[in-house]
């Protein structure tokens, strides 16, 4: 049965293709702006990607008035405010984010502050942004977060050692640029962990209590693409086809979970990121199969659907298919050379109870199909430690 009510929102225009980042002249011209401001990190700066985008800017007769390249891997409230101040000082009127999830989320946060004023912390919450923000172009350099199209910005608050989520449909980029050439140099370990983040988005969106038919279709499609092409991209980073497939699938997974939301795997990963700065993709990778298993008692049919999406042959026994989906994800980790245990992520064993309790307070837990209880999550964590 369909949900009694659902909404599905997508605001981003997506353009994709090898080399598209340097051919954005027409796309950028439509914004009718004059002063571009780039948000990125030091690594992207070194890779020469900015030159490609500069070509697009020149074609669109846009002046590049500033580059803020101080975004760290786990961005923080203060970084958002510094970036916004830099853009304001340069009088930038269109933001262009080039980088991974942390860069794009920082640019989203900057866009909020630049468009609406005040302090980023004031916008913590749900539905507080009620009007259109300034134009934002997002050019992901990882195939993972899907942040270019999502309604979220997840930024760390150093004061409380927690990741705080802002939710608003206005946050997603106006233009999402998927150029697989920008992901070719991503090392195998990052390719694998960001790919598992994307897979976790698709899986959790499909299992979410907030599922809707439109996100279902996109999530299942993304699952199939990711399990097929992620191992190829990890083994052979220069394989443009694999990179392209992964970049599009990660964006699809973003479109799915932007409306459907996620669940306990992300709640735990946000917690590990907040407390110990465990990289988001790695945390999701290690916890995805255990999280699916935790949800097995209430989500057998949907887990069996996932088995089919992964390309596994249906056995006619739903319980067996559901199990097979979990085992498949577990088997994928060594295949893409990722760690399989929490101890590999330097999580202190003595603090697992704290992790479980904190995860129960994360916004993502609210749409987990099985009502999460700290004691039960602790058992999950112990098992995978």
């Amino acid at each position: 049965m369909l949900p009694e009510y659902f909404d599905y929102h997508i605001r981003s225009r997506v353009v994709a293709g090898p080399g598209v980042a340097s051919a954005l002249g027409n796309e950028l011209r439509r914004f009718e702006r004059k002063r571009a401001f780039i948000v990125t990190d030091k690594v992207v700066g070194q890779l020469g990607f900015l030159d490609r985008v500069k070509k697009s800017l020149a074609d669109a007769e846009l002046d590049l008035v500033g580059v803020f390249d101080e975004v760290p891997p786990n961005s923080e409230f203060g970084v958002v405010m510094r970036g916004a101040a830099a853009c304001r000082a340069a009088r930038g009127d269109i933001l262009i984010a080039i980088g991974g999830g942390s860069v794009i989320d920082t640019a989203k946060g900057m866009n909020v502050v630049l468009s609406l004023g005040g302090d980023y912390i004031d916008y913590q919450g749900f539905g507080l942004i009620e009007r259109q923000l300034g134009p934002l172009v997002a050019i992901p350099t990882t195939a993972g977060t899907g942040s270019e199209v999502t309604a979220y910005a997840v930024i760390r608050d150093d004061a409380t050692k927690s990741k705080q989520t802002i939710v608003s449909n206005h946050l997603a980029a106006d233009l999402a640029v998927l150029d697989p050439e920008l992901t070719l140099s991503l090392p195998p370990s990052l390719t694998a962990s960001t790919g598992l983040d994307a897979l976790t988005h698709a899986v959790e969106a499909y299992l979410s209590t907030n599922w809707r038919p439109i996100s279902d279709g996109i999530a299942l499609h993304a699952c199939g693409i990711i399990v097929r092409w992620l191992p190829v991209a990890v083994d052979d980073g220069a394989n443009l086809e694999a990179r392209y497939e992964m970049l599009v699938a990660a964006c699809e997974a973003g479109m799915a979970f932007s409306s459907a939301m996620v669940g306990c795997v992300h709640a735990l990963a946000h917690t590990l990121g907040g407390l110990y700065e465990v990289p988001h993709g790695l945390a999701n990778a290690v916890l995805l199969a255990p999280g699916m298993e935790y949800n097995l008692p209430v989500a057998e049919a949907r887990l069996a659907d996932l088995a089919r999406a992964f390309g596994l042959k249906p056995t006619g026994d739903q319980a067996r298919d559901a199990r097979a989906a979990i085992d498949f994800v577990r088997g994928l980790l060594p295949r893409v050379k990722l760690p399989t245990r929490l101890r590999d992520l330097k999580v202190p064993e003595g603090e697992l109870a704290l992790v479980a309790e904190t995860a129960c307070l994360d916004a993502a837990i609210y749409t987990n199909p099985r009502e999460a209880v700290a004691e039960e999550l602790l058992e999950v964590l112990k098992k995978v430690y």
């Binding site: 909404d7 004031d122 913590q124 919450g125 749900f126 539905g127 307070l361 994360d362 916004a363 609210y366």
Partner: protein, 141 residues
């Protein structure tokens, strides 16, 4: 038609109910332990109820209820119509859906809001009981 005819009726029903919870052994204690100031800003009719679990509570209570505008700066502000609030206390509002629809807005750290959700579950049966007790059985849904 709106459930409540004026702010006084909101305070009588919803505010009055909140006050019965201030000394509730489980719920009251958990809300009190949150240390938060939570403000509910209602429209149709305009009314404000503030839960103050930050400042020292009156003797025998775990927290304080303030009806109407006040100078406290809330940690969490929830904005909705009084009708949605009424339905919420029957357990008939899906929070995520209400937020997504724009029926409710939440300002402040989402985790602290979620933290209280399991704690306030007993309210869903207590609220209708309270309404009956004060002669407002017609409002039970």
């Amino acid at each position: 038609m709106a459930t409540f005819k004026d702010a006084a009726e909101v305070y009588q029903c919803v505010g009055g109910f909140f006050k019965t919870v201030t000394d509730h052994p489980e719920m009251g204690e958990k809300i009190g332990a949150s240390g938060l100031i939570i403000q509910f800003v209602y429209s149709e009719p305009d009314s404000i109820i503030t839960v103050d679990a930050k400042n020292p509570p009156p003797k025998g209570s775990f927290f304080r209820i303030i009806e109407g505008p006040c100078d406290l700066k809330p940690d969490v502000k929830m904005t909705m119509t009084a009708d949605i609030a009424h339905r919420f206390w029957f357990g008939k509002v899906n929070l995520v859906q209400a937020l997504a629809k724009g029926d409710m807005k939440a300002q402040g750290p989402i985790p602290s809001i979620l933290k209280l959700l399991p704690a306030i579950k007993p309210a869903y049966t207590l609220y209708p009981e309270y309404l009956k007790k004060i002669g407002k059985a017609d409002k039970v849904i």
